[in-house]
Structures are given as C-alpha cells and as structure tokens.
C-alpha cells in the first residue's frame, strides 16, 4: 500500500495561484471555497536583497490527524494510503475538525452545512493520475508521489533534500513537505 505525500518547492513557486484555480475548477468548488490558498511571506529585507516567499497551503494529510480524532460522527476518515477525506453524508457541520486543524485546511460551507477539504483529488489518484494542483503547476513546484517508494522523487526530496513539514512542533506528522530557501534548483 503506498503512502501518498506531496513536496512543495517554494523556491520554484512564483505565486501565480494556478493551483488554487485548477483545484476550484476541477473539483467544482463553490465560489467562496478555497482548498489550497497561496500565501505570501514578505517582502523582507532591504534593496537589493529583497525576498518574497510564496507558500501554497493545503490539507497536510497528517499521520496523527487531529481532525479525525475530533470528529464525533466519524465523517473525517483516513485511508490506508494516508489520504484524509470527509464523508459528507456523515458530517453534521459541528466544526470540531475545523477548530482542531492547525493548518486551516478545512472550510465550512453554509449552503450545504458540511465541512469540506482537499482530498489529494483521490478519485484521480485512484486512476493513477496526479492531483490537479500538481498537474497544473507549470513551475513544477509541486511533486506528488509515494513516500514508501524509494525510487520516487518524493522519497528523494524528503530524505535527501531535507524537505520539512510546516509546524513540526505540533507533532501532527504532516505528509506535505516544503523545500524552503532562496536558491532555485532544477529538478
């Protein structure tokens, strides 16, 4: 069984928000729902050494997902391959998962009364495809794959390039990793 993970190379991200748009279109999200925002850190520094970092966010598909333990109905679930998803029929919209998530990855949709989130486009993944945000990224800043496969690029980047999750001090065991720095590399 694979263990899906994503590496985001912020050194390559130019903040074009294509992933945000692709996600909204392909998942047919309501107008006011965003699964993967791209936030901007900076600008920092003084000319000529001014820096801006774009940080795409999404569900981190954590190993110890606090949202799953918080859900009183069992609507928040995790597959064996690590993908965390919401079974909307079971969701009552109590927002317990939303309050538990430290990454703000969940959105309450008032029109349906349920909580929605990124699920790594699991229908696509089951067909052997990549999530839409990964397919769309023209900078190849998003890399998706099986972290248990030693031949995968994700494995290589996490173990050799020291990609790190966000907020590691919270011990959620996030499976979205970030390569951060200022020097872009060809991969």
């Amino acid at each position: 069984m694979p263990r899906y993970a994503m590496v985001i190379d912020t050194r390559r991200c130019v903040g074009c928000h294509s992933c945000t748009v692709a996600c909204k279109i392909h998942n047919e999200l309501p107008l006011d729902v965003i699964y993967n925002p791209v936030i901007t850190k900076g600008p920092e520094g003084v000319f000529p050494k001014v820096r801006v970092e774009y940080l795409p966010l999404l569900c981190m598909h954590c190993e110890n997902a606090p949202c799953i333990n918080a859900c009183p109905t069992g609507a928040s679930q995790q597959r064996e391959d690590g993908i965390v998803f919401v079974e909307e029929d079971k969701c009552v919209g109590c927002k317990a998962c939303l309050m538990a998530c430290p990454y703000g990855a969940r959105v309450f949709v008032p029109s349906t009364g349920v909580v929605q989130k990124c699920n790594f486009c699991m229908e696509q993944v089951d067909l052997g495809e990549e999530p839409f945000c990964v397919k769309t990224c023209h900078q190849k800043a998003r890399i998706f794959g099986d972290l248990d496969d030693e031949n995968s690029r994700v494995y290589d980047l996490v173990n050799r390039e020291n990609a790190e999750p966000l907020l590691p001090e919270l011990n959620t065991g996030a499976y979205v990793f970030y390569l951060r720095g200022w020097e872009a590399k060809l991969i």
Partner: protein, 307 residues
C-alpha cells in the same frame, strides 16, 4: 467568503454556560444528598440542573450545520465530543429522575436507595459535564489561547461557582427543601470560589502573555490590550467576579443580585473564551491572505448559487 464561518459562534458559548452550570448544579445536589443527607437544595434547583443541560444541548444542535443529523454525534467513541454528548444525555435523564423524588406524592419517593444511586450518577456525570468544555478546548493545539490544561480548571471553577449561584437563587426565591440555611451555607463557598477564579484567570492570562509561545502571546494580546480586554477586565473580572465577591463577603441581603452577576460573568467568560479561539497557529502571511478576500459579498454569492 466561507472563511468567515471558520470558528464556533455565540450559541456554543451559551451551550457551555448552560451545560456547565447545569452539570455543576447536579453535582452539588448529589454532594448535598450523599454527604449532607439533604434531598438536594430546592425542588426548582434540582430540576433546573438537567433542564439547563438540555437547553445547552438544544443550542449545540442549533449550532450544527445540519441540525437534523445531530444524532450522529453519538457515533464515534474515540471523539471527545461524543463522550461529552453521551454524558450530557445521561446527566439529563438521571438528573430529571433524581429531581422527581422531590415531587410530593410521587410513588417512588420512599425508594431512598434508588435516590442515592441517582445522586451518585448525578455527581459523577454532573462533574464531567461541568469540566468537559475545558478539556475539549484545552486539547486544541491549533488554538494558542486554549491549548494546555489551564482551561480545565478555569471551566470547572466557573461551572461550580455558577452552579452554586444558581442553586442559591432557586433556594432563596422558591424555598429550600432541606435544613440547609440559605444563604449562610453558600455565601462563604461562592466567595472563596470567586476569589480563586480571580487569581486563576489573572494568572492564566499573565502566564500566556509573558511565558507563552509567540502564538500564545499574540492571541493573549487581545485580552490584555486588544478588542476583548475591556469586556474581560471590566465585564468579567470586575462586574462578574470582584463585585459579587465583595457583595457575598459583605452579606447585606444582596445575595440574589450578587448571584445574578456571577451568572452573567460566567456567560461573558465563555463568550470571550470562544472568541479567543478565533486565533489560530497562523503562518506568516496567512492572516493577510484571508483579510484580502472579499467581504460583504453574501448577497452576490447567494445570487450566484441560485443562478
């Protein structure tokens, strides 16, 4: 944008207030019955405990996105919310059964053994219901103001003080059932709890602000000199805690007014705590991103959805 709905609302704060107060009322009634050999404090007070928990449960249901599916919250035994829901259910049923012993002429009034068993259940479940909001909030690593064990003691303390105050009001206005002399028996207890509440709350906010992580300091700034500070300092600490503390110590027949202030303080405290949970473990730039999203676009979104 939907991100406006990303926190719990005022109904949950009122639920925490009613459930906490009701749970503590049950707990106190059970304590008085088991260790004071009194059939509770007053008939109205005994009934009001489970009724308050019921009101809290109703508000909790109304807060849900899909209220008619609320039965599903009993389904995941691993979730703390499920544990709380079951406890509230047991506390309501057993609390009403226990209170029914005070109704004159009811057939099972003489079954003292059953009453004692129900008093034990009320004591345990009441204590759990009174404490559990604090446990629920304290386990949120993602909410810097809540995280940690401090919330447990603050909620238990507030539940107890509001429970005692509610029993006092019921006893004084409708007549106590046992030989307990109200307000004499309760004044000292409530005053002591209020004094501890004053110290604990000041210490909690000070501790988070001085020794907390950068997120905790940022979240607590709202309480020290931000948008929540006036309500916290003058509404909760002064009017909801210090003034009733002085009135209870003074003992000049103003106990009911002091008890009402305690209840209002407890309600305000819970509203402030829920609002304090709006602050998350924000990443740099995240707040700015959400601040830039359109605001006041509800009508447009509604029209778009109906298109």
């Amino acid at each position: 944008m939907s991100h406006k709905h990303d926190t719990w609302g005022w109904m949950l704060a009122v639920d925490f207030f009613f459930a906490g107060m009701g749970g503590a009322m049950l707990c106190i009634a059970g304590l008085v019955d088991l260790f004071g050999n009194q059939p509770g404090i007053s008939l109205v007070g005994n009934f009001l405990g489970p009724i308050c928990i019921g009101i809290g449960a109703c508000l909790l249901i109304l807060e849900l996105g899909r209220p008619f599916q609320s039965w599903r919250v009993f389904m995941n035994p691993k979730a703390l919310l499920t544990f709380g829901a079951w406890n509230m259910f047991i506390a309501i049923v057993c609390g009403l059964c226990y209170a029914s012993f005070g109704i004159a002429g009811i057939p099972w009034q003489t079954a003292a053994g059953l009453r004692k068993v129900l008093a034990v259940i009320c004591l345990v479940c009441g204590l759990v219901v009174a404490t559990y909001p604090g446990i629920l909030l304290g386990q949120h690593k993602s909410r810097p103001f809540w995280t940690g064990p401090g919330m447990i003691s603050l909620f238990l303390l507030s539940s107890l003080v509001t429970g005692f105050a509610a029993h006092l009001i019921c006893g004084l206005t409708t007549g106590a059932t046992g030989a307990i002399s109200l307000p004499g028996a309760f004044n000292g207890i409530i005053a002591a709890l209020l004094a501890v509440q004053l110290i604990l709350w000041t210490g909690y906010v000070w501790g988070k602000y001085v020794y907390g992580t950068s997120w905790e300091v940022s979240a607590t700034r709202r309480w020290v000199n931000g948008d929540l500070s006036s309500l916290f300092k003058y509404g909760f600490l002064l009017l909801g805690t210090l003034v009733p503390l002085i009135l209870f110590l003074w003992g000049g027949n103003l106990e009911v007014i002091a008890a009402v202030l305690v209840l209002l303080g407890g309600l305000l405290m819970r509203r402030l705590v829920i609002r304090g949970g709006e602050e998350r473990t924000w990443l740099p730039g995240e707040k700015l991103y959400y601040a830039r999203l359109p605001a006041g676009d509800e009508d447009f979104l509604k029209a778009w959805d109906n298109k």
